[in-house]
C-alpha cells in the first residue's frame, strides 16, 4: 500500500511539474527548464601507474566542472536539464588498457560521450575507440599531433598541439641578453615528447640557436645521468627536456650532481606541477616550462568562471593553497567544450554534438577554444612560466607576464 501511495504521489507531482513548466513557458515566454535523464560521460584515467600524478590533476579538472554543472542543475539541452554522471576507469597509465576501458565505458556503462584520459599515448588509443563507435571524445591532455593526423571526425583536443610546447621558450630565449647560442634536447620516446623535440630541433635554427645535442630515452626512465653527462660535454647554453614529471626531476637532479651549468633550463612537463617544487626545494628555482595555461592568463570567459574565480574555486574545492596547474585547467576546458557543444547542438545525438564541436568557437578562462579541421585547438597560444623563489610566475609573452625572466641561471656552485 505504501509503495502504491508513493508512486501515486510521484505521478501527481510529476504532472504538476509538467503543468507548471508548460504554463510557465506559455505565460512568461522565458525558457523554463525541466530535468531530464542523467547524462553519462565516461573517462579512462591514469589513476595509478607512471602518470598517476598527472592523471590525478586531470581528474581534479573534470571534477571541478562536474560539481559546477550539477550545481547549475545540469547541461541545458533545449530547456531540459541533464545532470551529469562522470564515470572513471583506471587505465593504469597504459594505452592498451585505456582503449579497452573506453570501449567498456561505451558498451557497458552506456557512456554517451567521452572525456580524454591523461597523456598522448593513451589518448591516441582511446581516439580509435571513440571514432569506431562514433562517440565524440573531447580531451585536454593529449597534445601529440599524431592523434589528429588520422582523419578522425569524433576526436577534439582543447589544448595547443605538441609542436608549440617549447617554441615559446625559444622565442623568449631569443630576446634574452646575453643571448644563448646552443641547445641540448633530451626527449622521452613517446609520440608527444618526440613531436615536441622534433619541433624544437626544426625551429631552433630559425631563432639563431644551434642544436648541439639531441637524444631520446625510454619513457619513464629514472637513470638519466649518463645522458646529462653527454649533454654537459657539449656545454649547452639551453637545456631542454620533453618528457614527464618523473624524468624532469631526474634530469634536474642529475644536472646538479654533474654541475651542468646551463644559462636556461626548460622542461615541457613537470615544473608547472606543485610536486616539482616540493621534490626539489630551492633547486627548482630558475626552471622554465611551456605551459598551456597559467592563472595569470587574461581572457574573457563568456561562461563558467574567470581565471581568478577558477583559482579560488579550485583552492576551495580541494582545500589546498596550490594554484591549479595547467593539467587541471585544460581538463576543465575539455568539459566546457563538450558542454557548450551539447548546448549549441540542442541535442544529445552523437553526430549533432560532433558537428557542434567542429563549429565551436568560445572564449573561456582557458582561452579561446576552437578546433582546426583536424580537431585540435591551434587558436590558443602557449605561455612560458618560470619558478622564482619557489613560486610559479608567467614570464612570456610579455603582455600576460607577471614577472620578468630571471636570466641567466646562476651556476650551481654560485647559489
Amino acid at each position: 500500500m505504501m509503495g502504491g501511495t508513493t508512486r501515486f504521489t510521484g505521478v501527481v507531482s510529476l504532472a504538476a511539474v509538467l503543468v507548471l513548466a508548460c504554463g510557465g513557458a506559455a505565460g512568461g515566454g522565458t525558457a523554463a527548464t525541466t530535468t531530464g535523464e542523467d547524462l553519462v560521460i565516461g573517462a579512462p584515467m591514469s589513476l595509478t601507474g607512471s602518470q598517476s600524478k598527472e592523471g590525478a590533476l586531470a581528474r581534479q579538472g573534470y571534477d571541478m566542472w562536474l560539481q559546477w554543472i550539477n550545481q547549475q542543475g545540469g547541461i541545458n539541452v533545449k530547456g531540459v536539464k541533464h545532470r551529469v554522471q562522470l564515470k572513471y576507469e583506471d587505465d593504469t597509465s597504459k594505452a592498451d588498457i585505456s582503449a579497452q576501458l573506453a570501449q567498456k565505458l561505451i558498451t557497458e556503462e552506456k557512456a554517451q560521450f567521452l572525456l580524454g584520459p591523461y597523456g598522448s599515448a593513451t589518448t591516441a588509443s582511446d581516439a580509435v575507440v571513440a571514432e569506431k563507435n562514433s562517440i565524440p571524445m573531447v580531451e585536454g591532455n593529449g597534445a601529440a599531433q599524431a592523434i589528429f593526423n588520422q582523419g578522425y571526425k569524433y576526436v577534439f583536443g582543447v589544448l595547443s598541439p605538441a609542436n608549440v610546447y617549447l617554441s615559446g621558450v625559444l622565442d623568449m630565449a631569443a630576446t634574452l641578453r646575453p643571448k644563448p647560442a646552443t641547445v641540448a634536447m633530451l626527449a622521452a620516446d613517446d609520440n608527444f615528447s618526440q613531436e615536441v623535440a622534433k619541433a624544437v630541433v626544426d625551429y631552433a635554427p630559425s631563432k639563431g640557436f644551434q642544436v648541439v645535442y639531441s637524444d631520446k630515452y625510454p619513457n619513464g626512465s629514472t637513470n638519466l645521468s649518463g645522458l646529462v653527462a653527454n649533454a654537459k660535454a657539449r656545454n649547452p647554453d639551453i637545456v631542454l627536456n620533453s618528457g614527464h614529471l618523473q624524468e624532469a626531476i631526474a634530469i634536474h637532479k642529475a644536472a646538479k650532481d654533474l654541475k651542468l651549468d646551463a644559462k636556461l633550463s626548460a622542461y615541457s612537463v613537470g615544473p608547472s606541477t606543485p610536486d616539482f617544487i616540493v621534490a626539489l626545494g630551492k633547486d627548482a628555482n630558475y626552471v622554465f616550462d611551456g605551459s598551456q595555461w597559467t592563472p595569470q592568463v587574461k581572457s574573457t570567459a563568456s561562461f563558467y568562471l574567470s581565471s581568478q574565480d577558477y583559482v579560488a574555486a579550485y583552492k576551495k574545492q580541494f582545500n589546498t593553497q596550490d594554484d591549479p596547474d595547467y593539467h587541471v585547467a585544460e581538463s576543465t576546458a575539455a568539459c566546457l567544450a563538450l558542454q557548450k557543444a551539447i548546448e549549441n547542438a540542442g541535442s544529445l545525438k552523437p553526430d549533432k554534438v560532433r558537428d557542434a564541436l567542429a563549429a565551436l568557437n568560445v572564449s573561456t578562462f582557458f582561452g579561446q577554444i576552437r578546433f582546426d579541421s583536424r580537431g585540435i585547438n591551434t587558436f590558443k597560444p602557449m605561455v612560458v612560466e618560470q619558478i622564482q623563489d619557489g613560486k610559479h610566475h608567467t614570464v612570456w609573452p610579455a603582455n600576460v607576464a607577471d614577472a620578468t625572466p630571471q636570466y641567466p641561471t646562476p651556476s650551481w656552485s654560485g647559489r
Binding site: 637524444d215 660535454a233 618523473q246
Partner: protein, 290 residues
Amino acid sequence: MQLFVQQVVLGLLIGGVYVAVAIGFSLVWGILNIVNLAHGALVIVGAYLTWLLFARARIDPFAALPIVAVALFAFGYALQRALINRVIRAPLFFTLLLTFGVNLMIVNALLVVFKSDFRSVTPSYSGSGFGVAGVQVPYIRLAALGVAVAVAAGVGGLLNRTRTGAAIQAVGADREAARLVGIDLRHVYALTFAVAAACAGVAGGLISTIQAITPTAGEPYTLQAFVVVVLGGLGRVGATVVGGLVFGLVETLGQTMVPGLGAGWANAIAFAILVLVLIVRPQGLMGRVA
C-alpha cells in the same frame, strides 16, 4: 676520455643502487625459492619511510636508514609468517600470484596514504660532490654505493659467519635435512624474508635521495633486481654485487656511448648482454655450477 670516465663513474654509482635493490631479492629467491614480485613495493615502502622521517622529523636520510631497516625487518617477518609462508611449498605459479597480489596491495595502500604525489628527499648537501679532473662525483651517490657495499658485506657476513646464517643456508640447501637437524623452518623462512625486506628498505632509502618516488615507482626495480640476479648468478652475495655493478655500467654506457644509437637502446643492450650471459654462462657471471 673525460666523458668516458664520467660515464663509467656514473654507471658504477647507479650500479650500487641496483646492488642494494637486488641483494634482498636474491636472498629470497635463493633460499625460499620465491621470485618476490612485491620486492619493488618493499623498496618504495622504505623510500616513503625515509621521506617521512626527513620531511616530518628532519632526520637525515642516511641516519634514517637503520630505522627504516628495522621497520622493514619487522614488516617482512610478519608478512612472511602471515601470508607468504602459506604458499612456501606451492608450485612457482602460486608464489608468483601471491607476491603479485601483495605488490598490488602495498602499492594501493601507499596510493591511499601518500596519494600519487611525487616526493623526493633533498637534503642540503644534495647535488654537492667533488670533481677530479672534470669528472664529477656526487656525494650522495657515492655514499649510496658505500651503503650498498656495506649492506652486501653485512648480509654476506650474516650468512657465512653466524649460526643464524648457517641455518638460513642449510634451509636453502635442503629444507628436509634442515628440519631433521632441528632447525625451525618457519622461523628461518620468516627471518630470511625479513632480512631481505630490511635490505629493500635500505635500498628504498637510497633511492629516495636520487630520484622522485611515487607509490608505483618500485615496479621497474623488481625487474632490475631480477636481471641483476640472473646476470650475476644466484646464491652468492658477491655475485649480486658484480651483477649490479655490471648492469649499472652496461645501462649507462649503453645509453650514451654507442654512436648513432639513442638511449632508447639501453634496455635492449642490457638484455642482449643478459641473453648472452645465459647462453655462455647459464649460471651467471659469478654463479656456482648447479
